[in-house]
């Protein structure tokens, strides 16, 4: 059962080689054994997962099986799941049991996938190292002294250490792709609006997007087939025909035009990472692709604009945590104001508070035009850069992260150094483009990710390019030592 692709697991369930109950128990046992050292899960509920597996086996028996029926999936603890604790990595929601299912969870439940548990994450998805979680840091399975990346660090460690065959994540500025790069597996952030945000705890609503985290591009395509689709309950969900993402994986990539932005290879990129990326590009040339030099001249403004837009939206979204209707409330208070102030002081961690303060500042009277409006204009410049680039190329490639996994604690006291982790991923969130990270090599036994960025709605194109690469290389099949 270990290291099997989702398709192979599905076929084995179909042929009754094993049941969903056996498969789920197998992964729950792995969680039991390895989670104490990784801290990848916040909530594991064996009884609930096993009950779901039994139901899935009944579906399979009744001939109602679809591709992911019976397969255990680890769910990022940002997705509301009815009856499950849903904490978003925060003390504020430590005891919050969701009264309803998010659309993503609903879709997985609907086809009879099994919820394997809720994975650890940076508090309210704010972080790039999974060190801001109230429930403690997650360790990187490749080196327990290193961070797994963030914010979807628990899902990342779970997939990398094979505690789950696949997981969900969310990506506001790189939170699927950077951990995929640092933990050596495949992760995809879809076009903004493709996956419903209903019941996905909001950080920065105009940027947040959920996506799959799994071993291969093929696995990600199968996950995406379940996760996407228009949803009336999310006003930013796109009303367009649902696509099939797993049908075009094997298309030849002869003549595929790969754009390489020169800005992705300037300051800030580790030279060893650069070598790995260049080697991957040579591999693509061997497979028939053409490399084309392009420019994204405003890329250096992506981080500044992001650190206005994301905190501004966060300060508004997180105003709901006031200790009145749900979540944490301080123990002692004099009056209503005192209750608000203490509840939010005690319930939020440092990074979340910093971002709320920045967001409140840039939205406050007198600063709106200079910061928020300016950032939205720069957002358009960045989006226009991509539009021009896609006149010359089919997909864009570069590094996913500026370095391999770094040591725990190394950047914790320096928010700016931490923010630079997302230097290659943020611009695609601002432009709403789909992008993936796939394993492309190693530096001192730590994985390096190659980023593939597609034009809007061209998930099939990047999945196809990733799949062809994975058919000709085996970087994505490598797994860390000590997890057997």
């Amino acid at each position: 059962m270990l290291n099997l692709s989702l398709k192979k697991l599905s076929q084995a369930l179909e042929k009754k080689e094993f049941t969903s109950v056996e498969l789920t128990q197998f992964f729950l046992n792995r969680v039991k054994k390895l989670n104490p050292s990784l801290n990848a899960f916040i909530t594991v509920d064996e009884a609930k997962s096993m009950a779901m597996a039994e139901k899935s086996d009944q579906l399979i028996q009744a001939g109602k099986k679809t591709m992911l029926t019976g397969i255990p999936i680890a769910q990022k603890d940002i997705f509301c799941s009815e009856g499950w604790k849903t904490t978003c990595g925060s003390k504020m929601l430590e005891n919050f049991i969701s009264p309803y299912d998010s659309t993503v969870i609903h879709k997985f439940n609907d086809i009879g996938a099994v919820n394997l548990g809720k994975t650890n994450m940076d508090e309210f998805a704010m972080g790039s190292s999974n060190e801001t979680s109230y429930f403690g840091p997650v360790r990187n399975p490749w080196d327990l002294n290193c961070v797994p990346g963030g914010s979807s660090g628990g899902s990342a460690a779970a997939v990398a250490a094979r505690l789950a065959p696949a997981a969900t994540g969310t990506d506001t500025g790189g939170s699927i792709r950077q951990p995929a790069s640092l933990c050596g597996f495949t992760g995809l952030k879809p076009t903004y609006g493709l996956v419903s945000r209903y019941g996905m705890i909001a950080f920065a609503s105009s940027l947040d997007q959920a996506g799959p985290m799994a071993i291969s591009a093929e696995d990600c395509a199968l996950m995406l087939d379940v996760m996407t689709g228009h949803d009336e309950k999310d006003s930013t969900s796109l009303d367009r025909k649902k696509e099939n993402y797993s049908n075009f994986l094997d298309k030849k990539i002869d003549g595929l035009r790969i754009g390489i932005p020169k800005e992705f290879f300037e300051d800030g990129l580790n030279s060893d990472v650069q070598k790995v990326i260049q080697e991957a590009l040579r591999q693509y040339e061997k497979l028939g692709a053409k490399i084309i030099d392009i420019s994204l001249p405003n890329n250096h403004l992506a981080i500044p604009a992001y650190y206005v837009i994301a905190p501004a939206e966060a300060s508004s979204n997180l105003s709901r945590y006031d200790g009145v209707r749900y979540g944490y409330r301080t123990k002692e208070y004099d009056d209503l104001m005192d209750m608000y102030f203490k509840t939010r002081q005690e319930g939020f961690g440092d990074e979340v508070k910093r971002r709320i303060l920045i967001g409140t500042y840039v939205l406050s009277a007198g600063y709106f035009d200079a910061y928020y409006l300016k950032a939205q204009k720069i957002r358009r410049l960045i989006s226009n850069d991509f539009k021009l680039a896609y006149e010359k190329c089919d997909i864009i490639m570069g590094p996913s992260a500026p370095s391999v996994a770094f040591k725990s604690g190394e950047k914790q006291e320096d928010p700016l150094a931490m923010y630079m982790q997302d230097i290659f991923t943020i611009s695609t969130n601002l432009a709403g483009l789909p992008a993936m990270s796939i394993p492309a090599g190693f530096i001192n036994e730590l994985p390096v990710g190659l980023q593939l960025i597609g034009n809007h709605f061209e998930e099939t194109k990047i999945l196809n390019a990733a799949h062809i690469y994975q058919k000709n290389t085996d970087w994505h099949l490598k797994s860390p030592k000590g997890i057997d």
């Binding site: 930013t236 403004l301 981080i303 749900y326 009056d335 209503l336 300016k374 950032a375 410049l381």
Partner: protein, 95 residues
């Protein structure tokens, strides 16, 4: 543009977050750094550029205003830190 201790206190008040004197000192250094990073935006002229709020420039869709989730009162109240007689209880606001 930079931020000082007084402004941090003002912003913290707007955000309804208590910050102790020690926290103000710690926060100040970090916020000054973040604002310096943000300041880079001023390097570029954006005079004729339209602001972008949705990545695909899509407008808000409208739908009929009808109840879809019924009988969720008790379920919702059960989540509250303090509720009585179908009400969310907060400290007295009006004398």
């Amino acid at each position: 543009m930079s931020i000082n201790k007084e402004e941090i206190k003002k912003v913290a008040h707007l955000a309804r977050i208590n910050v102790s004197k020690v926290e103000v000192d710690q926060v100040e250094k970090k916020l000054v750094g973040i604002l310096a990073l943000i300041e880079k935006m001023q390097e570029v002229n954006t005079e004729s550029i339209e602001p972008m709020s949705h990545a695909l420039d899509i407008n808000q869709p409208l739908r009929e205003d009808k109840v879809t989730a019924k009988d969720i009162r008790d379920k919702s109240l059960a989540l509250a830190p303090h509720s009585e007689q179908s009400l969310f209880i907060v400290p007295q606001v009006i004398e």
